[in-house]
Symmetry: D3
Subunit: 129 residues, 6 copies
Amino acid sequence: MQPLIEYEQSQGVVREVFDDIRATRKTDEINNFWKALANHPPTLQRTWATLKEVMAGSGELDPLVRELIYIAVSVTNGCNYCIASHRAAAVSKGMTDAMYGELMSIVGVANMTNRLANGFQVPIDDKFK
Amino acid sequence: MQPLIEYEQSQGVVREVFDDIRATRKTDEINNFWKALANHPPTLQRTWATLKEVMAGSGELDPLVRELIYIAVSVTNGCNYCIASHRAAAVSKGMTDAMYGELMSIVGVANMTNRLANGFQVPIDDKFK
Amino acid sequence: MQPLIEYEQSQGVVREVFDDIRATRKTDEINNFWKALANHPPTLQRTWATLKEVMAGSGELDPLVRELIYIAVSVTNGCNYCIASHRAAAVSKGMTDAMYGELMSIVGVANMTNRLANGFQVPIDDKFK
Amino acid sequence: MQPLIEYEQSQGVVREVFDDIRATRKTDEINNFWKALANHPPTLQRTWATLKEVMAGSGELDPLVRELIYIAVSVTNGCNYCIASHRAAAVSKGMTDAMYGELMSIVGVANMTNRLANGFQVPIDDKFK
Amino acid sequence: MQPLIEYEQSQGVVREVFDDIRATRKTDEINNFWKALANHPPTLQRTWATLKEVMAGSGELDPLVRELIYIAVSVTNGCNYCIASHRAAAVSKGMTDAMYGELMSIVGVANMTNRLANGFQVPIDDKFK
Amino acid sequence: MQPLIEYEQSQGVVREVFDDIRATRKTDEINNFWKALANHPPTLQRTWATLKEVMAGSGELDPLVRELIYIAVSVTNGCNYCIASHRAAAVSKGMTDAMYGELMSIVGVANMTNRLANGFQVPIDDKFK
């Protein structure tokens, strides 16, 4: 496993990104995800820029809805790190336990019906084309 | 491929479910998905009951958000039928083209960062446990 | 797309495998899957040998159960070719429409509960370790 | 992570489901999966009803075959909780070590050939349509 | 389905990206992927910038190897569009039929052994931690 | 979980495979993957023969490129064991940290664009057919 790069060790591009993460999130803490990506500075820089824009930039979907969508994908893919970190992010944006339960039930049902559509080889209705 | 069971051919449990679909959706049209599932009545009945409750029952998440979550899963799994049919459902509930674009960008980014978390073998932060 | 290699064009290792497919399956027809793999003879040879052994060799699971398992994987992965071809194989080994419906309902439910286990971050019970 | 709801703490719908789980499985033990789902009672209730019907209701597939299919999906999706718990369930229904080995070899081969079909872009044979 | 935005219709940011695609790829043709993404300009712009940097920017991996990796992911996910378009890209960078066959055999085997590792619940060796 | 079969306990076919692993890899150590598969000798034998041929046999792709492809699949599928063991194998064949970072960025981007292609329902360009 690669080492996690701590803020104190960081320099150059990595330090700049870490500073932006701190400023944007208004906390000195930097999640392990970013400390790990810091092992490859171009990936760190590009990923942070993309995530910041997509999850927190201007748009029609509100920040909590964006987190719910993000979690739906992570649960479908089974990414434990992503589930844990974005669940915390969603809670900080107002997600209740009931909302999480509803989210899970939708994700579960979609994963089920996706396979029923596959298995019954359902042709797409003309009206959906 | 299994035949699609048309409303006119349906009987018993299948007819009951088809009638409920028509009543709930306020249209005589029945999507191919349900016509295909009608080949196995218990699956049709159970799936419809579950979907109706999860996607349209009472809860804290509004109907459009539920559709966005459903699409996020379907795009991640690559279920073409589900993408086409639920995209139409989301549009009928108010989804704009801009919202769909934002949804896709979040789904894309989550699928990317899920793999970065896997590949960099990122340990879960204590605060997320 | 690669061309499909027809029996008449085949030579060397490809011809040998094609002859074994014909003999094993007791039919002159060769499925497109094998005609496509024939573009890379070592993959054709290895894949046929493995599939023959795993799906038709001696063992405790009967041939129909093996097909059901194979379909469960293919539906989960959304492989349309594999669903279509192995559904036909299962029918030839005795699968009824009711069995296919039951198979789909199990595959659907497992895909749902897999995600519920992910999303609720369920710790493994000590007794299952 | 959500707390696990123990039987002693359970009430209302959750208690009813827990009682039915105990009665159906003829044991006082309740798996962590259900204790976790109890955080969202409607999901608990619906999931248990579905699973009970699909995995233990009447049908043509015997209970052990149903478990093998369930495991095939869970291994494909990489759901560790589901693999561990349903492997135990399958053993209790008569699965031998040899059967598990055969199951794994089929799941492995199907995952391989699913990708070969994708990668070689194999067109579906007319006879399978 | 969303309309494809043709070069002649494009304006603003979309036109700028389309011009960069033409200049970078040294051809007037623009693939459907970019014409579809043009329905949401920020996604088009960000995705093109990322792809250009990752697939064609400076780095230690040569361009053909990058395409092989890209195809490996697309075949695993079953993305038909991505397989078709990047296979063509790989051929233009020197991929032979034999190399494609080898690539497929590795992708197939990895998908198989990934599931064997899941199913046999193999603990990670200390030396790999 | 199944027990790991140690070299000292191994006999018959398992011992033969273990000896071949030792000879091929020029080390007495046998990875947990093989010790686990030894619980089902035919799967052990077939998997080792396939992996040896595909990953180390003659061919146009060099051994390091093969490992990169293998890792790309394993990261996409989220197989922690496979990521850890093949990352070590790749390092032993010359993979640098920068190469691993580039590999991750390609895998991440491919997983993102695969979903964008799904979600925007992009039709395959005629020239790619």
